[in-house]
């Protein structure tokens, strides 16, 4: 359902001090394939290129090389159609604070091609599942981080997407709220959607994901079930795999 073939992406950044342009190779040849009813965990240290990868899957950024397909649609040429079938939750996404959850859900439902009444019904159902039904008609200025994140999640899932890509959905949430989000991911999986989550919470990844891949130096490592990965690397936890990869990267560059 979500396919990446040898995807590359780099950025030009300017060093303010030396005034020189620097090339940041954020993603250097990543290939992966996520099937319906599967949760894929995309892991990696800060600045590894996870967010960049998700942005490319959502068609918001164009890869420099390689092909990305969602539901058989090329994200480069069919960006709009892809976004019509995909739920994207980013870390830098916030709610429209001037609206109430109900108002925002109606607006975004319409934007995603769902009639406002259906959008409202689906959105309210999702908010109910996330435990926010008492606040649907409250202006969001007063909302806490977690409450806002719940609205964000409901907004992303409004249009019955076939593919779901969530960037750090549980960051900033307490364990109970995080649990409701993870439960929701399980429901998504059971409903046959293809799910990719980026996270820094290793235990959660081990628990929830059917497969994990670790981006290190712009390349994908692992790409196996968590148990399998631990066995093949002779590690006790995903954290340990991280340390191994970091050590390997250092010796490779030395």
């Amino acid at each position: 359902m979500i396919q990446l073939r040898d995807v590359h992406k780099s950025f030009d950044v300017r060093d303010r001090k030396t005034r020189k342009k620097k090339r940041v190779d954020a993603v250097q040849g990543i290939s992966l394939d996520v099937k319906p009813g599967e949760i894929y965990g995309l892991l990696g240290p800060n600045g590894a290129g996870k967010t960049t990868t998700l942005r490319m899957i959502a068609g918001l950024m164009k890869p420099d090389a390689g092909v990305i397909e969602v539901c058989g649609l090329d994200t480069r040429t069919k960006g709009e159609e892809v976004r019509g079938k995909l739920a994207y939750l980013a870390t830098d996404m916030q709610v429209y604070e001037r609206f109430t959850p109900r108002e925002q859900l109606r607006i975004f439902g319409e934007m995603q091609g769902v009639d406002p009444a259906t959008a409202e019904r689906r959105g309210l159902h999702l908010l109910d599942r996330l435990g926010l039904s008492d606040f649907v008609d409250v202006k969001m200025t007063s909302f806490s981080t977690g409450q806002k994140q719940k609205v964000n999640i409901a907004r992303a899932l409004l249009h019955d997407p076939k593919a779901v890509i969530f960037d750090e959905p549980t960051t900033g949430l307490d364990v109970l709220t995080a649990k409701t989000v993870l439960d929701l991911l399980q429901v998504m999986k059971q409903e046959g959607r293809a799910v990719i989550v980026c996270t820094h919470a290793m235990p959660m990844a081990e628990d929830v994901c059917d497969r994990v891949g670790i981006i290190f130096d712009g390349k994908l490592h692992g790409d196996a079930a968590p148990k399998e990965l631990l066995r093949s690397r002779n590690a006790r936890s995903l954290d340990e795999v991280f340390f191994q990869l970091a050590a390997e990267s250092e010796t490779a560059s030395a």
Binding site: F11, V13, R55, G84, Y96, E103, I107, F108, M111, A156
Partner: protein, 404 residues
């Protein structure tokens, strides 16, 4: 284009939640301008009435008492004050006296001998009070002249018409409505330009950098609405706001001018000049319609500029700062377009925005020039299309959207 429509709807809905901004952008001009013009008119009227009700302070040297009795006979118009000691010029400047009159000692003899009586009046033409005093003296002498001439003619046994071989009857062709319309025509473009820009500047910053700063831009971009349509929706929303705030400014100015014109008409009726003036006489529906049509490309230019600049900024505040030079340019253009005589400059019809100001001014002065109008509309439209395309392109750039 359904996506653009949805984005427009979202923007306007979001704006409607911000009552304070709505008030300051749209309701304030409707209250402020009538207030300013109303107070201005009332003050001018009161000043005028006050001056007329006060006698002029005159000092007079009249050894033969040829004129003094006449002045004394009209205490409503003349108050005789002692001749100031020292510098007369200074006394006039300090408004101790309004007019100094010097009548020769031989005045009565001169009159009897049928010679010309020369009265010297020293005034300060920079002061309205002094001007009024001089006018009053001239009126008085004119009146007296008539009696003196009649007496002289009688002594000669001649007809009273002898002294008036010809006469010009003057009817003033200056139309009060037209004069005021010209004034309005100079003001309107200035107010429109500035009103429009200030009306949309903050919303523009909020819709672009503001959305980025508040973290909502990404969620909008992650919908299936194509980016050009998101750009179009935002441009349209700003465009609508621009026109609405322009309209609010014009209506406010019109109401204000209407009361001012009423006051002026009343004042001039009191002083004998004929004429009435209402806003409907100054601006016909055709003038208003053509003005609005001409504003469309100008508003599009502004809106595209604001969007293109706004989206490059990181924060709303930064966007506001980046848009300030635009504001200054608009004020400069506005002031330039108010300058008298610029319509005579050959390049003006080709200068964007200014040509629209001048075309509007011509219409309000009832001197519609089709060529100027067409040039203004054409040149501004071309620029508007170019700028709009540029703004849409900017909103599609990865490095702008994902500014690090």
């Amino acid at each position: 284009m359904r996506g653009a429509w949805l984005v427009l709807k979202k923007e306007l809905l979001e704006l409607s939640k911000d009552r304070k901004t709505v008030f300051f952008t749209f309701a304030l001009p409707l209250i402020l301008y009538p207030l300013i013009f109303g107070v201005m008119g009332k003050m001018a009227m009161r000043d005028n009435a006050q001056r007329k009700s006060k006698p002029s302070k005159v000092c007079i040297t009249d050894p033969g008492s040829a004129l003094t009795p006449f002045l004394q006979a009209d205490p409503k118009k003349f108050q005789i004050v002692p001749t100031p000691e020292g510098n007369l010029t200074k006394a006039l400047r300090d408004k101790v006296v309004d007019l100094a009159i010097d009548v020769p000692a031989t005045a009565n003899e001169d009159l009897k001998a049928q010679k010309t009586l020369t009265v010297t009046a020293t005034q300060n033409s920079a002061e309205d009070d002094s001007e009024l005093a001089l006018k009053r003296l001239k009126d008085l002498l004119k009146d007296k002249d008539k009696t003196w001439v009649d007496a002289r003619l009688k002594a000669l046994n001649a007809s009273p018409d002898l002294a008036t071989p010809s006469r010009v009857e003057v009817k003033n062709a200056a139309d009060l409505a037209l004069e005021l319309g010209k004034g309005l025509g100079i003001w309107i473009p200035y107010i429109l330009l500035i009103g429009m820009f200030t009306g949309v500047m903050n919303h523009g910053a909020s819709m672009t950098a503001g959305e980025r700063e508040r973290g909502t831009l990404m969620s909008l971009l992650s919908t299936r609405i194509p980016r050009p349509q998101i750009a179009a929706g935002k441009l349209l929303a700003l465009f609508v706001l621009g026109l609405v705030s322009a309209l609010a400014n014009v209506v406010g100015t019109a109401i204000g001018f209407n009361t001012l014109a009423g006051d002026i008409a009343k004042a001039s009726a009191a002083s004998g000049t004929q004429g009435s003036a209402s806003i409907l006489q100054m601006a016909s529906p055709a003038t208003l319609g053509l003005t609005l049509l001409l504003l469309i490309p100008v508003a599009m230019m502004m809106v595209a500029f604001i969007l293109a600049v706004g989206i490059r900024a990181r924060t709303q505040r930064e966007a506001g700062t980046a848009l300030m030079p635009g504001m200054f340019v608009i004020i400069l253009l506005g002031v330039f377009s108010m300058a008298p005589g610029i319509e005579k400059m050959a390049v003006v019809p080709y200068l964007p925005i200014i040509n629209a100001s001048v075309a509007i001014r011509e219409m309000f002065g009832q001197q519609f020039n089709a060529v100027h109008y067409a040039l203004a509309f054409g040149i501004n439209s071309l620029l508007a299309i170019g700028l709009t395309a540029m703004a849409a392109k900017t909103l599609n750039r990865e490095d702008v959207l994902f500014k690090s």
